[in-house]
Symmetry: C2
Subunit: 187 residues, 2 copies
DNA sequence: AAAGATCTACCTACTTAATGGTAGGCAATG
DNA sequence: CATTGCCTACCATTAAGTAGGTAGATCTTT
């Protein structure tokens, strides 16, 4: 059994993360998966439906990973480091963040997708806020800045680092940026 | 005299920064400027020509600003803060970085443009490297990390902050991230 | 200075290919 | 027998780019 729907999601995610939402077509996706263009519409009637499913699947994977980090890593900086490692999957494949690729298209993006990616990042910000707040409380994270400000700083740095990595792939550069980031959060 | 070419560059820049390179068409640009689509080809024969001119003009503006900062601001953290302020223009207009918008499209982008934006960021990295190295030498920037690593961290954080700002515009969020960034570089 | 030639900046009208999406058929499966 | 999953064949729209023309400015030659 080959799960065509899952295959479509997987290949479409690679395409969007590699070339942007406006930068790939149903024709590209059909070729990548090996079915006909019209058949995609059977699984995802419109491109927006596909985009929304992509974001939902991506968000689910992150949600699971965030919960695992919270359960398995005790200290604040360690959790942020583990969070940063999540971006490494993209680094290794030379792919950007799905939601960053969508966010760049801003105004041109269908409103539904705009809402979905806003929710994606809001979720991360809320998680980081809680993690950093706990870290400040137990003394593992430096105090003096609002957790919300630090949360935004963390996402910004990692999203930017991933962007840089795609332009200048280097085995150590992402790790270097992550190390500086985590270090700057230590108490 | 109305300089149509300059107007085309200005409007095209807004379009690319707001919706990505693949997300705007000559038809959009023609409407924005108020001339016919075919007339754009008189100034920029192909879309790649237009894109390259966009990056060149953008890079020139940054080059001038970088030189001014180096001349007018003496200390390392102050220079990085001033560098971060350069991104504020985009923040205020709700526009992303031109080269980030192009970089996201990665593989799908014409090779010529890929080379141009790589050169753009290489220039920034080199400038930051020199600035941070000087800051370490005069004791205004913390030592312990390679200037090249810190340079990449600076760009990553600011590019990411600009991305976040477009999703969640907030009068203070960008400034907050910039403050944390500059603070983390202090000796 | 007049006459012709050339150039600039724009136009209308078009081509070709690609876009997202639709209609309807057909074979396998439960 | 109805549903699922895929197909061929199509549609309307939009994409970038081309062809060829026109009005006006500018340069050249007599």
């Amino acid at each position: 059994m080959r799960d065509t729907r899952a295959e479509l999601l997987s290949q479409a995610e690679t395409l969007v993360r590699g070339r942007g939402y406006a930068g790939f077509s149903y024709a590209d996706l059909a070729e990548a998966v090996g079915i006909r263009k019209a058949s995609i519409h059977h699984h995802f009637p419109t491109k927006v439906d596909l985009g929304a499913a992509l974001v939902a699947a991506y968000a689910d994977r992150y949600d699971a990973a965030l919960a695992a980090i919270q359960a398995e890593v005790p200290d604040g900086p360690g959790r942020i480091a583990a969070y940063g490692q999540l971006y490494l999957g993209g680094v290794e494949q030379g792919l950007g963040c799905l939601c960053a690729a969508l966010a760049i298209e801003g105004e041109a993006l269908p409103e539904r997708l705009r809402g979905d990616i806003a929710a994606f990042f809001k979720g991360h910000l809320a998680w980081l806020d809680a993690i950093l707040r706990a870290g400040q409380a137990d003394g593992s994270v430096r105090s003096g800045s609002e957790p919300a400000v630090l949360a935004r700083y963390v996402i910004a740095t990692l999203e930017g680092a991933l962007l840089m990595e795609r332009l200048f792939a280097s085995p150590t550069a992402f790790a270097g940026t992550l190390a500086v980031l985590v270090d700057s959060l230590r108490a």
